[in-house]
Symmetry: C3
Subunit: 471 residues, 3 copies
Amino acid sequence: MTDELILDENRFFDSDPPTRAIARELYEGVKDLPILSPHGHVEPRLFSENKPFPDPTELFLIPDHYLYRMLYSQGIPLEQLGIPKQDGTAVEKDHRKIWRTFADHYYLFAGTPSGVWFNHELYVLFGIREKLTGDSAMRIYDQISEKLALPEYLPRALFEKFNIETLTTTDAAADTLEQHQKIKDSGWKGNVIPCFRPDAVINLMDKNWRQHIAKLSKVSGIDIQSFKSYISALENRRAYFKRMGAVSTDQGIFSPRTHELSANEAETIFQRALQGKADVTDADQFTAHMLMEMARMSIDDGLVMQIHPGAFRNHNQLVFDAFGPDKGSDIPVQTEYTHNLYELLNKYGNDQRLTLVVFTLDESTYARELAPLAGHYPCMKLGAAWWFHDSIEGMQRYRQSVTETAGIYNTVGFTDDTRAFPSIPARHDLSRRIDSNYLAGLVARHIIDRSDAERMSRALAYELAKNTYKL
Amino acid sequence: MTDELILDENRFFDSDPPTRAIARELYEGVKDLPILSPHGHVEPRLFSENKPFPDPTELFLIPDHYLYRMLYSQGIPLEQLGIPKQDGTAVEKDHRKIWRTFADHYYLFAGTPSGVWFNHELYVLFGIREKLTGDSAMRIYDQISEKLALPEYLPRALFEKFNIETLTTTDAAADTLEQHQKIKDSGWKGNVIPCFRPDAVINLMDKNWRQHIAKLSKVSGIDIQSFKSYISALENRRAYFKRMGAVSTDQGIFSPRTHELSANEAETIFQRALQGKADVTDADQFTAHMLMEMARMSIDDGLVMQIHPGAFRNHNQLVFDAFGPDKGSDIPVQTEYTHNLYELLNKYGNDQRLTLVVFTLDESTYARELAPLAGHYPCMKLGAAWWFHDSIEGMQRYRQSVTETAGIYNTVGFTDDTRAFPSIPARHDLSRRIDSNYLAGLVARHIIDRSDAERMSRALAYELAKNTYKL
Amino acid sequence: MTDELILDENRFFDSDPPTRAIARELYEGVKDLPILSPHGHVEPRLFSENKPFPDPTELFLIPDHYLYRMLYSQGIPLEQLGIPKQDGTAVEKDHRKIWRTFADHYYLFAGTPSGVWFNHELYVLFGIREKLTGDSAMRIYDQISEKLALPEYLPRALFEKFNIETLTTTDAAADTLEQHQKIKDSGWKGNVIPCFRPDAVINLMDKNWRQHIAKLSKVSGIDIQSFKSYISALENRRAYFKRMGAVSTDQGIFSPRTHELSANEAETIFQRALQGKADVTDADQFTAHMLMEMARMSIDDGLVMQIHPGAFRNHNQLVFDAFGPDKGSDIPVQTEYTHNLYELLNKYGNDQRLTLVVFTLDESTYARELAPLAGHYPCMKLGAAWWFHDSIEGMQRYRQSVTETAGIYNTVGFTDDTRAFPSIPARHDLSRRIDSNYLAGLVARHIIDRSDAERMSRALAYELAKNTYKL
């Protein structure tokens, strides 16, 4: 029957029998390892409040731009999908109707990672056994809704069921980490830790930069009037994050250019920014300098430094104006690392106290720039296949492009980077399957032997993340 | 016997048995679907005149720069291959001798799509059962020549035999479409439609631009003295093309940069061009502006807009001077889409009346820029793997790079883009086989199921082209 | 037993049985062909002196930045690996201890070509049957040391055992080729020939450029006071190299930009350089001009011209200052060929007396720029997958990206490019296996037939190098 939803136990493994058999065995050896999620965007409030998830539409569709961007690309207005508007004007409120629209167009996701993850969630988490179509839409809606009301579907219960050892959230530099404190205070044992993300106080082009600085002044208790006091406030916050369990920082930047300004130059730009007069050049210079500063601070306090360059944010101004950021119109651009990271790597790259994890949206840099850099500099590790490339083919291209030059030990294991908490097991399962399959291909072609593969398999599924992020 | 020409029924499918078996079944389901050829360079005169094809050399080699460029790269002068010179000086006239030279070097094409297509034509169309070599050259020449004299090898008969539902030609903006009119008048039912290609009247660096404008004035009946009248003339011609059956426009451009000029700026550049004084910067600005204008017009009249950027035309000046354009020395360059399409997509990209089909010669943009753009903007579709990438490996890289982000429904099916009419079935057969094999790989790895694959298979072979081009 | 070192006879072949069977048969047909090594960095002194190799650490590790850069990336100081310092300060001298450190970290190379080559050397050359680990380290050290003392492990004996037909070294323009002369004078029949590499006298940014010019003056007997006498001196040396057996030149350049200066411009820059006043722009212009000059000279004297662009040399200044060049911190950059080679190809590209072999570190140019250029211009051939891309996946990407546009006959066969003499058979064996496997995949998918594959297999393993380099 073609409408049955089946999760084959050999899914994602190559179909030739020798490779598949080895892949399956490697996968069996790692599939039940605890999940480390050292980088993501799950809201800590989920666990501090531990309230039941709302209905399926609110759980799956409305927060996930991976899903609704695809429907938008095929002409479904975002209003019709219930995406809230910035000006508060009406959007579709009938979540059953929205779910039906989603189901009618679910065929669009065939062959995409979103489709694969979503099927996993339906099948494993909710016990659904039919494919999502217009016909099955409401039956599935009701089945999920029923489950969401059960105590074992509360966020903390799922966290434990998912066997998550550590979950890292992403938090603004000026965040009070109040939700994290509440989790700690609650006595619940789930290890949910913050990550220090200073983008809003570093990006001078952010329209609300001065407000973010004001907020940073307030939470740090340091009156930010100069570049020096700004740095002190950041150091203050990093120390606070660290006390709250943080092991890492993260920066989303357009370009990975690194360049140290003189104290004077930095101060001059900073003062212009405080007066609301900084321009694009100032902002670029400031970011380049702050990458240097962040590396210096990481050497001091031991937080792992992560950078995520290369996205042209909010490419679709109309969608941005109507619906705000993160609505599926961030588009990658070509990114250069060899020249751009030169200053940082030359100043700090040989210092073993620094761990710099570099991500990319430009796959052409894997073999050309990133693997050679990570395969030489002691500080540098290559982040997992990210965002659009966190996919079956994307992960395979990553391993095939990176391993021969950098080995696997200069990479950092899997990073799910998700906002969608219930998708975490699906994403780690996919990653473990693809890495098992990659290693199986090496074994089947006698490039490595079986014991190598077993060791590497555990490293990719668990140990590399644990070691890199000092978890 | 090693000189036997064999077309294996499982050709181009992966050799592992599970994938191959599924690929074969998917292929069987689409192999006999009618051919839609919504973009190509076949001469309409072929069908208006319906004369017998000349000899094999003139049929296959002399018009096909895919073939003779390879021989040229190995040191065979183009004169020796009968390629006519611009100055009319003598070139080899003995077509049997040229054929022999071609056959002697045919081994160069092993592993290339030209070799694969050509073998298909020999085998299927002409019933040849031995490989083309120096030894077999003249026997094959004679066999083909014999066939070409038969009525069932006339262009219209082949069109019907090939099961072509629609064939789109490419026609200059100032073309009278006289041949298309003749086809209509003849009462023959073959659906051969024009496509509006305004490159010659848009590219200010074209040495004959003013002559093209004069011609455009004449055919449109609009005296082009200003940018405004120029636009009117183009609108006039688009309307005429549409009445003659056109569903699309096409633009070959160096860069896909889009930028709207003020009315004043556009007029100033246009006047400089009319005086023969436009420079490279003018030309770039003008093209960027005309991409905006073409999108606007497409919203008005519904013609699908196609752009083909990224070729450095006539890279070999010596060959260009001696033999003219399109002689195998167009070389791709790196191409940028995220920034370049920004203005157009922001002004028109959310308008569902627009269909913008974007092609590329720069595969590094598939996963990085084009799939994310096509996977978000309602107007945008990604054109098929094009030119150098219209090949077995090229198509596979395309699907593997694009599908996970954009799905298949933001792509447009296959475009043969050929000048070589007899190669059309070979090219569509190849494409259907490769797509079947791609989908089979997804099924074998349980990424999609069999019913998904069957639906997607029909879409790739037929429906996507039909829907995108409104055929 | 997992610590056993096994070299499977089907290694590196795809695991699906049909492809593997064909790959194996193709490989059997070429595995014993003589080795042509037309480009590499083995010291000629090895063969003029024919002394026993020193201990395993000095043989394998200390000269091979492929190996120690990986250990450095994981935090092992280069001093601890015995890499000599520029200032002569102490580094680890205990070669057994260094070997143990290497062995302890040898697992890092799993899945890398270094690991594959090294295992081949251990197994085939030294008869080792256990994997290199901390546990086996000293046993293996002793076994190798024992062998190295035997006469059949002397360089000349190995040269013959390896079945090397021709080995090309790389030699500075001002080199006296004294070692090559000694080899000739010795009466030994091994064909070791020089290659003319003028980088040191072309790169105006080289701090010792004037000393190199002085040396060039001396060896050529031409007092270099002008650009003209400089060119005469180069021509003089090329003629000398040619008399000494050279068939080629080689240039390592940052950018492949070609541009002819006027005689005046060239002279002006040259005079500034002689006065130590040339700047970066001068240097770039000079290199661009010298590429034109080198092509002109190759047309005159028939030496094959090779260019190797795209490496940012000595990216890690700290490592460079302490340990000198070639220590594993050369990092590739994006490289452009279509525009950059325009002038050279337009002036000399249609001249069949020129053979220009172009290498790249930027794989994104394979299908986009290099294959189309090599598939058109008679002079141009595409060099083998180079350096970081001289690997199993790298070679496969190369063939898959290049063949469909350029065929195999516009490529030049395998180039081992190694400093590590004992690794030569391992590298050629790997290359022959990967090419056999690539061709087997084409046969299994019926893209080519078996007789095509056999012909192409011999071409890739032997004939293309022989023909290109006129050996």
